[in-house]
Symmetry: C2
Amino acid sequence: MIAENMKEEVQKNSTVRQMFEEGRRRAKLYGEDKVFDFSLGNPSVPAPEEINREIIRLVQESDSLKLHGYMSNAGYEDVRKQVADSLNRRFDTHFTENNIIMTTGAAGAINIIFKTLLNPEEEVIIFAPYFMEYRAYVKNHKAVPVIVPPDTETFQPNLEAFEKAITPRTKALLLNSPNNPTGVVYSEETIIKIAGILKQKQEEFGTEIYIVSDEPYRELVYDDVKVPFVTRYYDNTAVCYSFSKSLSLPGERIGYLVIPNEFCDYEQVFAAASIAIRIMGYMNAPSLMQKVIGNCIDLETDIEVYDRNRKILYNGLKELGFECVKPEGAFYLFMKSPMESDFEFAEKAKEHNILIVPGTSFTCPGYLRISYCVSEATIRNSLIEFKKLAQELNLI
Amino acid sequence: MIAENMKEEVQKNSTVRQMFEEGRRRAKLYGEDKVFDFSLGNPSVPAPEEINREIIRLVQESDSLKLHGYMSNAGYEDVRKQVADSLNRRFDTHFTENNIIMTTGAAGAINIIFKTLLNPEEEVIIFAPYFMEYRAYVKNHKAVPVIVPPDTETFQPNLEAFEKAITPRTKALLLNSPNNPTGVVYSEETIIKIAGILKQKQEEFGTEIYIVSDEPYRELVYDDVKVPFVTRYYDNTAVCYSFSKSLSLPGERIGYLVIPNEFCDYEQVFAAASIAIRIMGYMNAPSLMQKVIGNCIDLETDIEVYDRNRKILYNGLKELGFECVKPEGAFYLFMKSPMESDFEFAEKAKEHNILIVPGTSFTCPGYLRISYCVSEATIRNSLIEFKKLAQELNLI
């Protein structure tokens, strides 16, 4: 009796669930430390201690009715100002509290701006490979996801295909850099080209086309790679951010949406987004966590841990003859499948108690995603099993 | 450039916002204690102290990665079991953790079960008067709200009109008792009759029709009134609950959804709802608050405070000649407008710095909602102004 559009979602999800359950089964059978579960993007570095200290301080010192109460749907004004000020310091922007809506993570932010903007049948362009739930987010609003196939040379977006995909019904481009699942950061050159194409198409079609920039991994970058702040390159940009990865708070559902003054019809859009957060059933971002984040806005997670994992895994796999995309950000490594089918390779890896996600799940067959947000020991021990795999496949 | 369906929402919302801003303006002009703002359903009793103690204990004693991390989308299993056990103790039900999904309040729960069940063009019946956002929740899923007009004698649902409103396209009835805005509790007799009508219509049309029971005010009842637990009367019932009102945590967005084993296609529906929570962008209910709620599941708020307010206000207004529906639950009093237009009366009340919401906002013109979750002093002082109003209108 479930809704038609949920049937496909249940089907897809059961694949991932089966992998998860297989992992649990193997952990019981062989022991936790003998199973190498690289399937989830769950931070392995705990939240900075200051977060817990701030929770305790707020609970001890605040008026309970205010700390746990309703505020403006967009969030506490002081917190929104703290977020705006932090962005301004770091990216030379000029935001105020009236450009920020506190949200239940980036997923909440994306759905709010989609609810605000999308009419049924309008198109949202997504670059493959992409986080598997983007498609469902677009469909929540009866809009149409349009997938641009990957450029498997660089895993920068395929801009030629992008240009062709834009139509008069294109309402938005959903962008994700640092990218899940590839770990690639879209370069400044890429962002400038995307902005150029969109400006030209806006003019050609007499439409407005928005960039929705999903940036939960913005702070997780290595080797001094820079992540361009997209509002600086294109006016019609909304930024969706989450503290899930950068401060290791994925369960708390806290993030924000940025709508700059330069966004077309900014005032109306901001007002509508502040209502969309209510009628989508979020009401507001969790109140205590808003205050915590506001007061801890410039905290950073210890990315050295992820960087070390990245280097050990990338170098280890390369030495074993696996072809990998060099990760510049996030905590994902995208590996080319050494067998024709990524599914078959994932199955073969499972025989070695290695759990990795087939690229087909990200609309990029022939590749696999390895989440290296695990312990260093897991990485090191897995390489022994990866070596056996490489030998079986005659890579070394 | 906002979506077509958001335009109406922005328009509606600006009415409420104008009232709020008018209140702020008057508070500045005349002083906070001279303005009687009865417009919001924001608890005035602080959360029990145990809540804050439990937050601190959890933060001090838990593994941060687990406390702030991802869990199953449906929520922590132990918390879901705590919720199920508490319901079983109180309502003689037989739920397990596999009947409970932790949600971002009742609004989240309603949207999740709607996402799970509703196809475009299917109908959801709502009894007027009703919480103004229900209509938007139904439209989120491109389904059609069907409003049953009120029975202004009793403010129990108008069952004759209800029966006529059911069609082969009816997918759900959205029920809310104790009711916002009337404060009425639907009696056991009413629930039995509703169940009977639905069972007969299911058979007649060969369809499944669900009750979605929104119960954020379940614990706020007076004079030993009993709130029937709807799953005991009708199998196809999903319960949506929030701790916003019962534990004064509206900002924290924590509640749950109950899907009983008896629900048609229970397993598929529960699996789909656990995915709907992801793709609606909630992902999961806030993690720390889940744990807090689980460990404080049998705490109760001090309803004596609301009860005292209720009596002072109800008796005071009656003495002044105002016609009021006697509130049995929640913290709302529904008053008949002594002027033909509820809007005009709300304007007239505003001249006395009394802010109340016209019933038209709840699809019940000719009435007004007074939220008595305010200080006792506000109630007592407002009665002086209500008296002046009564005199002006020749009620006394």
